[in-house]
Amino acid sequence: VEGSQVEALRTLFGDEAVRADDAERRAKARDCWPRLILRERGGETLPVPDVVVRPTSTDDVSRLLAWCRAEAVPVTPYAGGSGVVGGAVATRGGVCLDLTGLSGLVALDAVSGVATFRAGTFGPDAEGAANDAGFTIGHFPSSIMCSTVGGWVSARGAGQLSTRYGKAEDLVVALEAVLPDGTVWRTRPAPRTAAGPDLWRLLAGAEGTLGVITEVTLRLHPLPETRTFHGWLFPTLGDGIEALRQVMRTGARPAVLRLYDELDTSLVLGGQGLAVGEGALLVAVCEGDARVVAAERAVLADVCATATDLGPGPGEHWWGHRYSVSFNLPRVLSGQLLGAHGVADTIEVAALWSDLLGVYEAMRGAMSAHVAVVMAHVSHCYPEGASIYWTLATDAADEADAMRRYDAAWADGMRACLDAGGSIGHHHGVGLARAAWLAEELGEGHTVLRAVKDALDPAGICNPGKLGL
C-alpha cells in the first residue's frame, strides 16, 4: 500500500479509522498461532499489514472491499486475533480490516429466541446481552474473552458446551456479509428452509477468503435452570469412548462430555490432588431444564455403571478451571517448564465413532516420534462421532530443532489423521496451519471451493493464502 493510498483511505474513512503507525501494524502481525510465536521467539520479525482500517459500519466495510478490489490491495480480516492457525495473518501485507469497530447487539427477538450481533462483538458482550434477556448463546470457547461473534462463525469454532448447544455454524440463523466486490449480502432468517442450498454456509469456515461477515443472527437458549457435575474413571480410553457413543445414541445431550486419555487423566487428577489411578477420566456436566437434566443423569449413570464413580469433584474442578489451561502455554513457550526451546501446541480433529480410536492411536504414534508429551481428550460429541483434542509439548535442542519438531509433529499428525479416516480439523479452522492438507481433506470439494473463490474474488485479494487459496 503506497502512501498515497493510505491518504486515500483516510479520505474515505477518516483519520481515526486508518492507522499506519508501526505500533498498530506490529500489533496485527499475528494471531495466537504458536508457530508464529516460535518464529518471534527465534528472533524473526514477522510480516505486518501495511495499514490497519477499522470501519464502524457495514457500509464502510463495503466501501473498503470495493476500494481494495479496485486497487488490487490484499485485505485480511482481523478482530480478536484469538485464532491459533494463522488465519488472521496478513501474508501479503495490504489492508488489515479490523472488525472490532462493528460491535454490539442489533436486535433480540425473545419470542423466537434469536439475537443479531455485529461481527466484532466480543464473546462476553454477546453472552452478556443474551443473559440480560434470560438467554444464553451457549457458545463458550476457551477464547471467549478475546474472540468475536464473526470470528466464531468464520472459523467454525466450538464452545466447551457444544455437545449440548452445537458448534458456531449450528447457532447461525442468518448472517450479513460483504462480498469481495463490496456487495452486501443478507440472508433471510428462517429456522430451516428448502429454498435452494444454504449458501450462507459458504462463509462459515471460509475465514474471510470469500467475503467478510458483518452481522450474525444466532439462536438462543433459555438460561439453564440447573447444572450438575460428574466424574467417572474407565479402565481404558476405549471403554470410555464406547460409553460416550452409547450416551449420544440415546439422544441425551449433556453439555460437557470430556474423556481424557491415560496420560491426560494422570495430569488432570494429579492437578486436583487426587490419587492418580490407572484409566481414562470422564468429566460430564449436564445443564438446562431440570426434567431434561434428570433424564440425562439417569442415562449417564446407566451407561457408566461399570466405571468408578468419582462424584461431582472432577466436573466441578473442570468447571472452575475451564479457562485456565491456556495460561500454561506461556510457561512452555517461555522455557520455564521445558527449557529455553520448549514447544507446545494443540491440534483438534474429528472422526466417526467407528474410526475414533484408530485415529487416536495413529496420531499418537506419529506425533510421539517428534514431541515428548502427546496426550488428548475426546470431547464435542455427536450421535455419530466426536472430536479428539491433542496437547503436544516437548523440549528441543535449539530454536531450529524446536521448529523442526513442531512442523514434523503437525505433518505426521495430519497425515496419520487422514490415513486413519479422520477429518483434519474440528474447530480451530484451517488458516495457514492446515492449508497444505485441505485439498486432500476436501477432495473435489477443493476444486469447487477454488471455483467459488475465482468467481467471487478473481483477484484473490481476500485473506490470501488461507485455506490453500
Binding site: D21, D22, A372
Partner: protein
C-alpha cells in the same frame, strides 16, 4: 510424566535453573489468548490493539532491552492505570505497575513524556508543580491548625476542581469536623509526578508533603490516587505516612447516623477505578449517598468491575484525544442525568459532580 514418552527425549520435571525466575509479563502475555482484550478502556475506545495490555507488555520488554524512544514510551504510557486488565488476568500481570515502571525507566534514560518535560522545566525554573494561578489562597479558611486530621486537596482539585476543595471545607465547617489544610502551596504527594515518570521529583515533593503533615494522625485524600500513593509508595520511600482515608470514608464518618432526608436527589454513581480496584473503597460512597437519602442508580459495570473514565495515570496528558474517547465511552454507559463520583479526575472527565460537592449541597439545602 513418564508414560508414553519416546526414549530419545527427556521431559524435564523440574524448572531449569536458567529459567527459574518468574516469567516476565511479556512472556506471559505473548502466548496468552488475551483474556484482557475486552477489559481495556483505551483499547475499546480507540480501537487500537497497539495499546492493548498484551502489546504494551511486549513493547515494555523490547524497550527495556533496546532502550526507550518517544514512540515506545507513548505506547507504554497509553494506560489509564485503571486495573481492569489486572483483574481479568489469571497470570497475575499488573499492567498499571508495568506502565508506571516504564515511564520511570524511560525518564531515567532521558526520554520524557512531553507533559513531564514541561513539569521538569517548571521545577527547574523555580516554579511549583502547578501553574502559579492554581487555587490555594482559600485553603486555610476556617480550618483548625491544631487538628490531627489533614485535608489533602491534591493537585487535581487545586488545578481543575477548586469547587470540590471549597465543598470539602464547607462540609467540615457545617458539621464541625476538625481538619486542617497544608500551608499553600500544598505540596504534591508524589502521585502526579510518579504518573509522569518523575520519580526523584515525586520523592522530593512527597518528602515535603510528609514534613508538612508532621504531627497529623490522619490524612483525608480528596483524590484516590493521592490516597494510594501515600499508602503504598510513602513507606517504600521511608516517609512517615499518617493513616489514610479516602474522601468517601471521611464523609461517611460525618453523615453516618444523621437523619435521612425524605427525598434526596436522584443520581447515577460512577465508581472510580483507583478508589475501588486501587484502594478497595467500594461500599462507603454508596453508604454516604444512602445516608443522604439520595436515589442512586448504577450502571452495569460498577464496583470492582467499574469502567474507566480515562482520567487516570496522566493519560489525558499522554493522549488527550484517546482520553476523551474513553470518557465518552463511559459517559454513554452512565446514561442521562446527574452523575456523581469521588475522584476529581473522573469528575472532570465525565462532567460529573464530586461526592463531596453533593454532600455540601445537601447539607446546605437542609
Amino acid at each position: 510424566v513418564t508414560t508414553s514418552l519416546p526414549a530419545t527425549i527427556t521431559v524435564r520435571t523440574e524448572v531449569s535453573p536458567r529459567h527459574a525466575e518468574p516469567l516476565t509479563p511479556a512472556a506471559l502475555c505473548s502466548t496468552c489468548p488475551k483474556l484482557c482484550s475486552t477489559t481495556c478502556p483505551v483499547q475499546s475506545a480507540t480501537g487500537r490493539e497497539a495499546v492493548s495490555p498484551w502489546r504494551i507488555s511486549s513493547t515494555v520488554e523490547t524497550a527495556q532491552a533496546q532502550g526507550w524512544t518517544p514512540e515506545t514510551l507513548h505506547q507504554a504510557a497509553s494506560c489509564t492505570g485503571c486495573g481492569a486488565c489486572s483483574r481479568a488476568c489469571l497470570a497475575g500481570v499488573t499492567l498499571p505497575d508495568e506502565s508506571r515502571a516504564a515511564r520511570a525507566q524511560a525518564a531515567a534514560q532521558g526520554v520524557l513524556l512531553p507533559a513531564a518535560q514541561r513539569v521538569r522545566d517548571r521545577l527547574a525554573g523555580g516554579a511549583g508543580v502547578r501553574p502559579p494561578d492554581a487555587w490555594g489562597a482559600e485553603l486555610d479558611a476556617g480550618t483548625d491548625p491544631t487538628s490531627a486530621t489533614v485535608l489533602l486537596h491534591g493537585c487535581a482539585v487545586q488545578r481543575f476542581r477548586p469547587d470540590s476543595g471549597r465543598a470539602a471545607l464547607s462540609v467540615a465547617r457545617a458539621t464541625g469536623a476538625s481538619v486542617r489544610t497544608l500551608p499553600a502551596p500544598e505540596p504534591c504527594c508524589g502521585a502526579a509526578l510518579l504518573d509522569l515518570g518523575l520519580v526523584d521529583e515525586a520523592k522530593a515533593s512527597a518528602t515535603a508533603a510528609s514534613g508538612a503533615m508532621a504531627g497529623a494522625e490522619r490524612v483525608v485524600a480528596m483524590a484516590p490516587s493521592c490516597a494510594r500513593t501515600i499508602r503504598d509508595e510513602w513507606p517504600d520511600w521511608e516517609l512517615r505516612a499518617p493513616v489514610v482515608l479516602s474522601a468517601p470514608e471521611w464523609l461517611l464518618e460525618i453523615v453516618d447516623g444523621r437523619p435521612v432526608p425524605s427525598a434526596g436527589p436522584s443520581v447515577t454513581w460512577h465508581a472510580p477505578c483507583t478508589l475501588t480496584r486501587g484502594i478497595g473503597v467500594v461500599d462507603e460512597p454508596l453508604a454516604v449517598l444512602h445516608a443522604l437519602g439520595v436515589d442512586v442508580r448504577q450502571p452495569a459495570a460498577t464496583g470492582l468491575a467499574t469502567r474507566c473514565s480515562g482520567a487516570g495515570a496522566a493519560y489525558p496528558q499522554v493522549d488527550p484525544h484517546g482520553a476523551r474517547a474513553v470518557a465518552e465511552q463511559r459517559r454513554g454507559e452512565l446514561g442521562e442525568g446527574e452523575v456523581v463520583t469521588a475522584c476529581p479526575g473522573a469528575a472532570r472527565a465525565l462532567g460529573a459532580t464530586d461526592l463531596v460537592e453533593l454532600v455540601a449541597r445537601v447539607l446546605e439545602e437542609r
